[in-house]
């Protein structure tokens, strides 16, 4: 039987687990399947792309279809290639991992009305931006951003901004690409740096399907912030986005960071995801994605 809902990701993903529990509690007739990255690598694939669009037959080892034309998908896949093709030689393995990632990108590219977190050019499960890209995207979406800076050498930091770190700044290694490792500390005077201002208060607004879910304890947060968080999610094409904002003294709230694959989500967001999946079930008949009836091969 082709599943109504397909959940993609780790079996230990708290968001997938919470959504599955909520779906199970709300409907006893739904067929829900879960597939991990390893399951997909071991599946039987026929992925077709042509002038009529894309269509896929993907079946597990027992011949059961994983996804049909009316299957709604929640995609929380993280591409962890170390899990895959482990019996190949090293050269073949690297090639196979790149090839399989490319296949998944195409399979998960759409249709977006049936797939939460469809693949994008930057990520297998929605947009995967780096911290400076998020800062640029937030500014473009109309959010003020928190003071932050990153440099390749601390000697330039002194040269550029007087003595050392700016007042109120703390180290933020995540702002330095590729450098969140012990090598950071071995760089002496010429090591790269990343720093950002420390807010007095931090809130997280979660956006699901364009609807913002501010934390319940943040009644004093202006509603315009929720709108701006929604705009940011829309501008980067994120179905799910956790937006972190900070307040500095009496100043306005400022964007600090965003995560399209937050490890945890609040109840409002989990409900929003479940609602959207339930709405999608049966609404995907116009989709390009089709699958043969079970056992047709």
């Amino acid at each position: 039987m082709t599943p109504d809902i397909l959940l993609l990701g780790s079996a230990f993903d708290p968001v997938l687990v919470a959504v599955a529990e909520m779906l199970g509690a709300r409907s006893t007739t739904l067929s829900i399947r879960h597939a991990r990255l390893e399951d997909l690598a071991a599946a039987h694939w026929c992925h077709r792309v042509g002038s009529d669009g894309a269509e896929t037959e993907v079946r597990d080892g027992a011949g059961r279809a994983l996804r049909g034309a009316r299957t709604a998908v929640l995609n929380r896949l993280r591409y962890e290639p170390a899990l895959l093709f482990t019996r190949m030689t090293m050269a073949d393995r690297d090639y196979a991992r790149a090839e399989f990632h490319a296949l998944l990108m195409s399979w998960l590219a759409g249709p977006t009305d049936c797939c939460i977190n469809a693949a994008t050019a930057s990520g297998l499960a929605g947009p995967a931006l780096r911290p400076w890209q998020w800062l640029a995207a937030a500014q473009a979406a109309g959010l003020a951003v928190a003071p932050a800076r990153t440099g390749s050498s601390t000697r330039r930091r002194r040269h550029a901004a007087g003595e050392g770190r700016l007042p109120g700044m703390v180290e933020r290694r995540d702002l330095v690409p590729l450098f969140a490792d012990p090598a950071w500390d071995a760089g002496g005077l010429n090591r790269p740096y990343g720093e950002a201002a420390v807010p007095d208060e931090v809130i997280r607004i979660e956006v699901v399907g364009g609807i913002a879910h501010p934390p319940p304890e943040s009644a004093h947060v202006p509603t315009s912030l929720s709108s701006a968080a929604g705009r940011l999610a829309q501008s980067v094409g994120a179905d799910i986005l956790a937006v972190e904002l900070g307040r500095f003294g009496n100043a306005d709230w400022r964007f600090m960071a965003a995560d399209p694959m937050p490890p945890q989500l609040g109840l409002g967001s989990i409900t929003g995801i479940a609602d959207r999946l339930l709405r999608s079930v049966g609404d995907c008949s116009t989709a390009l994605e089709v699958v043969g009836t079970e056992g047709s091969q």
Binding site: C46, V49, W132, Q133, G188
Partner: protein, 315 residues
């Protein structure tokens, strides 16, 4: 001022630098091989993201750059950045080179000026069928494609189309070859990994380089399935400039724009019946081969696209 980043002797970058010099457009060259002389700072500000480059002693605020053309090679292959390479015996210097070049990548994605091309815009090319879906939506025909690990499905596809080719699914460069029972992977070998097959599309190859809103097209005449490797197979390739039908040119520009690419190499094939297929869009085209063979002024177009307003008219 234009910033050129990469290895200055590499064909496409060298031609663009030559064009800037010839057209009198101010420019800077960031040589990746001298990355130990490079420093970068990025910072947030009220007016967007700003920053500074320090390049061989010169200090350049980011807002002074009118455009960037980048042809960065992977840091891991630079001799200066390799643990066993020459020129960087001090591990801390090597680490700093890696950090500076990583930050250069970051800068390319957030710089306020036009960048050919931003690394973030290059992702679609890591999956040919993913990109094919975008190409199809732009109005081009795309070849019938099957990616499978099912030998029976592959054989059925071959019987249906008569002549098929196989090539990589990902951005890993592969030589396009025709498949037949006597050449190419044997069907049983597919079980190890889904492989991409395409119906062979007969016709003439056309390579279009899109720079901003302009198209520079070359028609390629070759007996090879993959003209890039014609010499290897003892075959020949010739090129000549071509004026594209207006609708095809418009589609090429719109497609590049959809992909976020200010500069793109679009691989087309015109069939004998006049249909235009698009195979893929290269986000970092090595255009020098096409410029040298066809005489198209692609490097001049790149430089004009990135030049400051004041220099553009003069150029």
């Amino acid at each position: 001022m234009i910033l050129f980043a990469g290895i200055p002797s590499e064909g496409p970058l060298a031609l663009a630098i030559d064009s800037a010099e010839r057209l009198g457009i101010p420019h800077l060259v960031c040589n990746q091989r001298h990355a130990e002389q490079l420093d970068i700072e990025l910072q947030t500000g009220a007016n967007g993201i700003g920053g500074t480059l320090w390049l061989a002693g010169a200090e350049v605020p980011l807002h002074r750059l009118s455009g960037i053309y980048a042809r960065l090679v992977e840091t891991a292959v630079l001799p200066e950045a390799r643990a066993d390479g020459r020129g960087a015996p001090d591990p801390s210097v090597r680490r700093r080179i890696v950090a500076a070049l990583a930050l250069l990548h970051e800068l390319l994605d957030v710089a306020p000026c036009p960048v050919l091309n931003r690394p973030a815009a290059m992702g679609s090319n890591t999956s040919k069928p993913f990109q094919a879906q975008i190409i199809r939506r732009a109005g081009f025909a795309v070849p019938e494609t099957l990616i499978t690990n099912d030998p029976a499905a592959m054989l059925a596809f071959w019987r249906r189309h008569g002549r098929i080719i196989y090539k990589s699914v990902s951005g890993v460069r592969s030589i396009v070859r025709e498949w037949s029972p006597s050449s190419g992977p044997q069907p049983h070998a597919l079980r190890a990994l889904p492989t991409q097959f395409q119906a062979l599309v007969p016709g003439t190859d056309v390579r279009v380089h899109v720079v901003g809103q302009d198209c520079h097209a070359a028609e390629i005449v070759s007996d090879a399935i993959d003209y890039r490797y014609a010499v290897r197979d003892g075959l020949t390739t010739t090129m000549r400039p071509l004026t594209l039908p207006e609708q095809v040119a418009r589609r090429c520009v719109a497609l590049s724009c959809d992909l976020g690419l200010g500069f793109a190499g679009v691989d087309l094939r015109r069939t004998p019946s006049g249909e235009w297929f698009c195979f893929e869009v290269n986000p970092s085209p090595g255009y020098s081969y096409f410029q040298e063979e066809s005489g198209l002024p692609i490097s001049d177009a790149i430089v004009r696209h990135l030049a400051p307003e004041t220099s553009r008219a003069a150029a």
